[in-house]
């Protein structure tokens, strides 16, 4: 590992601009790390080395002559495999999209490229982002770099592991019900889910359309702000995108003096993992030390969030995944030779078990006779959950709670029990349902089987207060010091 690999994106960009290394060297280092550590972790599905190096060289050629360098100039990044980069594979961890190359660039990808970022490859994920452990990928599991016998979390586990292991300083994931915050917590990185609509979803392959948000991982608070400054902002290609300018790339550090931090009792149940509880409480103490006032708040509908989320997300997914019918792209199975037979055979062969289960659930909750009791009911409970937050944000500026009820669990531990797996999202889905900005920030570690496992503290903000949440996350991270790169315990190095 070169010394530059511990740099965050902000420092790496500065080093490239100062001539300490070239964009090509930075990219080459990332590609080598992806090859060694990335392979050991199963972090990447595809590494696009030649394309990345070509882009980096072009940046090096340009840097001497052209004007203002981009905010991510020369910074290698990893993209979750559900993101469209023209000409690159985006399989979503699914057989059904195996071999498919995106015919266009996502808006946020365009913005990354314009800012000088160098995408090096597509990271592993639970198939179509359906999962909380990265074990539902059709192309193998991803491992947690703190303990390779454990899950990195999911569904953006590949991106989380790549950042935690120092392969890239930043990576993009997508967060539907916690798919960035939870792996960030389990892998000891920062992760940020923006307000719904803050980042254009154009080019993000949909799972749950009313919940999905492109969300970055980073190892510093300032990097989170920087990436958000690049990818956020209005976009004419997504009707749900907020009509607002991008967030600031280098906002001033936030002073937490007088910040009202709400702590909801519902997120500290009696059976909460003791190690998680003490680490999160230490994080909240840190916020207090920084000048924040801590108050208790109530979010009474929290217990309904998991069923609400799974009804809404699977309903949307059942419809979003209907387009994989073998007609226009990717794979096709023949079936009985009829059109409908071909469609069914393609879907049978192409989708994994968890995806099928969720499509079934989503189809069921929308079907005639069940709609009112399930989808109709859930979308009304969703309103109640959002109102809980509105009430709370009348009293406090930000809510602090655990990101995940437990640290990284063992691979295979929950694969046979979908309900247990779904419950691991209990702390993250409420903010998703309400469309609120939320970050996960490392707040300590606990020991399990002789290994240190990171714990994340979740900061949830009021709608559109992305800057406030990011500022608070940065203050907490900076107060705690640099985020450590994972030691790759148990991996053949």
């Amino acid at each position: 590992m070169t010394r530059f690999e511990s740099y965050d994106a902000t420092a790496l960009r500065a080093a490239i601009l100062a001539g300490e290394l070239s964009a090509e060297q930075a990219t080459r280092a990332a590609l080598e790390a992806a090859e060694s550590r990335g392979t050991a972790l199963g972090a990447f599905l595809h590494v696009e080395g030649d394309a990345a190096l070509a882009r980096a060289r072009a940046l090096d050629a340009r840097s001497r002559t052209d004007g203002e360098p981009g905010a991510l100039f020369g910074v290698p990044v990893a993209l979750k495999a559900n993101m469209c980069l023209a000409g690159s594979p985006a399989s979503c961890g699914s057989r059904i999209l195996e071999g498919w190359r995106a015919p266009y660039d996502a808006t946020f990808v365009e913005r990354l490229l314009d800012a000088g970022a160098v995408p090096i490859g597509a990271t592993n994920m639970d198939e179509f982002a359906m999962g909380s452990s990265c074990e539902n990928s059709a192309f193998g599991v991803t491992r947690n770099p703190w303990d390779v016998s454990r899950t990195p979390g999911g569904s953006s586990g590949g991106s989380a592991a790549a950042v935690a292991a120092g392969i890239v300083p930043i990576a993009l994931g997508s967060d539907t019900g916690g798919s960035v915050r939870q792996p960030a917590a389990l892998c000891g990185t920062l992760g940020f889910k923006p307000t719904y609509g803050r980042v254009s979803r154009y080019g993000l392959i949909a799972y749950g359309s009313s919940l999905d948000q492109v969300s970055p991982f980073a190892r510093s608070g300032r990097d989170l702000e920087r990436v958000m400054g690049v990818i956020s902002g209005a976009d004419g290609r997504d009707s749900t995108c907020i009509e607002a300018p991008p967030l600031a790339i280098e906002p001033a550090p936030q002073d937490l003096t007088g910040l009202r931090v709400g702590v909801p009792a519902e997120y500290f149940p009696t059976d909460l993992d003791a190690g998680v509880r003490s680490a999160v409480e230490a994080g909240i103490d840190e916020l207090r030390t920084l000048g924040a006032e801590v108050h208790e708040v109530r979010l009474p509908h929290t217990r309904y969030a998991i069923p609400t989320y799974y009804v809404v997300a699977t309903a949307e997914a059942s419809s979003n995944l209907a387009r994989y019918d073998g007609v226009r792209y990717a794979t096709r199975a023949t079936g009985d030779g009829s059109l409908q037979g071909m469609i069914a055979a393609t879907r049978e062969a192409g989708f994994g078990d968890e995806v099928k289960l969720r499509i079934l659930l989503g189809t069921y909750v929308l079907s005639s006779g069940y709609y009112d009791a399930w989808y109709g009911k859930a979308s009304r409970v969703r309103t109640l959950i959002a109102r809980d937050f509105e009430t709370a944000f009348g009293e406090v500026d930000v809510i602090a709670c655990p990101t995940s009820p437990s640290p990284a669990f063992a691979l295979g531990e929950k694969t046979d029990d979908p309900v247990a797996m779904y419950l691991s999202d209990v702390m993250t889905v409420p903010a998703s349902l309400a469309g609120l900005p939320a970050a996960s920030v490392p707040c300590g570690a606990l020991e399990r089987d002789g290994r240190e496992l990171p714990v994340g503290l979740q900061l949830i903000g009021a709608a559109r207060d992305d800057a406030g949440v990011l500022g608070c996350a940065r203050a907490l991270q900076e107060a705690r010091g640099p985020v450590a790169i994972a030691p790759m315990e148990g991996a053949a190095r």
Binding site: A206, D238, A315, L339
Partner: protein
């Protein structure tokens, strides 16, 4: 024993493509007849990750249709997903409107005085086109996928194929006039489904059957006639009618079962999460109201009462809004009392020319000659410069080139010959050739003079003033006594 009187009950669902430049949710051109799959993009082919963005103008046109049909506009509406699998439906769902259509109510009063009520109109995107080959394949063209549609649904207010036909003609006229759609059934921009049942007079309504695949007004009439006959025959034979969807086969002129009620699809409608609700503000409504043209029925009445045209002429002129607009512009540029002459030139020459092969333009507005030029031409016939017959030759040239009528008259040498010496010479030769005309006229048959008039007009190449010819012929016959 008296025969039962059967009463048909008919409702119509009409899909109409909106006349936008682009599709409903992407910037691909809304154009008929392009090479397959050349008007597509990630959005309208349902590529992973692509998202819809509403074409504001499509919504404006839909609003205009609703205003023209007297519907109640909802203060807000939303889009829903209608889920089903078919090879021409790229996303596996159609973006449509389910429980909150953008308008409801309204209706059309037919010429007969019958009022047909509308239940609702909603917006949706069109599907692509599946071409079923003779062999084992079907080929899919997605150029049409995503074209904006409005679907209007009537109450079951009609009782005959004639009423259904009259409703369709009136609907098409209103939508065309409002500039909402070209309503060209041949291009598929207007498509119709029928709901139909029959019941004995004084008895409650019976089971209704839906007929699909009706792509011409004639087929709508034929299908209704056939279906009424089929249902009555079944009931009279003591059989039942099943609630089902039937397909009209235009080749055989009959309907056949497509699917029964038990096989009704479950579309799993739910709100489209990619599109927030659509608000309608008062300013937008007012603007669209201001853009509504005078309806065809009102124009027809005005042409008859104010311009003295026949019902037939008024009907032809208002058959298309473009023609009526052209006519009115020409009338405005003309002296009073020329409406009939303008009408004749438009209906006999311009419309005939458009229907023929020689003229490139397909609508009157696309012709190179403009309404004010037609007015100039009629003025030339009125002041005696040219004959009406010559005017017809001039207008045929104008249609091709758009040149001014005065210029064409000069160039073609069509100015009427007022030279009495020349006219008299032509008349003398005509009478010499047909001496029997002289006797016939003397015998009191003035009409016989026509034969000589024709000869003179021919000799003059149409340039002789017909009245002068007639007067000269009569004078010469009198003088030959």
């Amino acid at each position: 024993m008296s025969a039962t009187t059967w009463v048909p009950v008919i409702g119509l669902e009409v899909h109409c493509q909106l006349g936008t430049q682009t599709k409903l949710f992407c910037g691909c051109a809304n154009r008929f007849g392009a090479e397959p799959n050349t008007l597509t993009c990630p959005v309208c082919t349902g590529q992973p990750g692509a998202l819809p963005v509403l074409n504001q103008h499509a919504f404006d046109l839909a609003l205009r249709a609703a205003l023209a049909l007297g519907c109640d506009i909802a203060p807000w509406s939303k889009f829903d997903r209608k889920n089903y699998f078919y090879c021409d439906l790229p996303k596996g769902y159609q973006i449509s409107q389910y429980d909150r259509p953008y308008c409801s109510g309204g209706g059309i009063t037919l010429a007969s005085g019958k009022h047909v009520r509308l239940t609702r109109i909603h917006m949706e995107e069109d599907a692509g086109k599946a071409v079923h080959d003779a062999g084992n394949t079907t080929r899919v063209d997605l150029n049409r996928a995503g074209v904006p549609l409005i679907e209007s649904v009537t109450e079951a207010d009609m009782t005959s194929s004639e009423e259904a036909h009259a409703y369709l003609v009136a609907l098409k006229e209103i939508l065309q006039y409002a500039g909402v759609s070209d309503c060209d059934m041949e291009k598929g921009s207007l498509r119709c489904d029928v709901n139909i049942s029959v019941h004995p007079e004084d008895e409650p309504w019976r089971t209704k059957v839906e007929i699909k695949n009706l792509n011409s007004f004639r087929n709508v009439s034929l299908a209704i006639e056939h279906e009424i006959g089929r249902q009555i025959a079944a009931y009279e034979a003591g059989a039942a009618i099943a609630q089902e969807t039937r397909l009209f086969d235009p080749d055989r002129g009959e309907t056949r079962t497509m699917r029964s009620k038990e096989n009704e699809a479950d579309y799993r409608y739910f709100p489209e999460p990619d599109l927030p609700p659509i608000p309608v503000d008062a300013a937008l409504l007012e603007r669209e109201r201001g853009l509504l043209p005078e309806p065809a029925a009102e124009r027809r009445a005005r042409y008859r009462t104010e311009l003295g045209l026949s019902e037939y002429d008024a009907g032809v002129l208002t058959s298309e809004r473009g023609v009526a607009d052209f006519f009115e512009a020409a009338v405005r540029a003309s002296h009073d009392g020329t409406a009939k002459d303008l009408t004749n030139l438009i209906t006999n020459e311009l419309l005939a020319g458009l229907a023929g092969d020689e003229i490139e333009a397909s609508t009157i507005a696309e012709l190179p000659c403009k309404p004010h030029q037609l007015a100039e031409l009629v003025a030339l016939t009125q002041d005696g410069t040219i004959t009406k017959k010559a005017a017809r030759s001039v207008v045929r040239e104008m249609m091709k080139t758009g040149r001014s009528p005065a210029e064409l008259v000069r160039e073609l040498g069509l100015e009427q010959v007022q030279d009495t010496g020349q006219i008299e010479a032509w008349c003398r030769s005509a009478l010499e050739a047909k001496p029997q005309v002289i006797d016939a006229v003397r015998g009191g048959n003035d009409k016989a003079i026509g034969a000589c008039m024709g000869a003179v007009m021919q000799a003059s190449g149409g340039s002789a003033n017909p009245e002068a010819v007639r007067d000269t012929l009569l004078r010469l016959i009198r003088e030959s006594d």
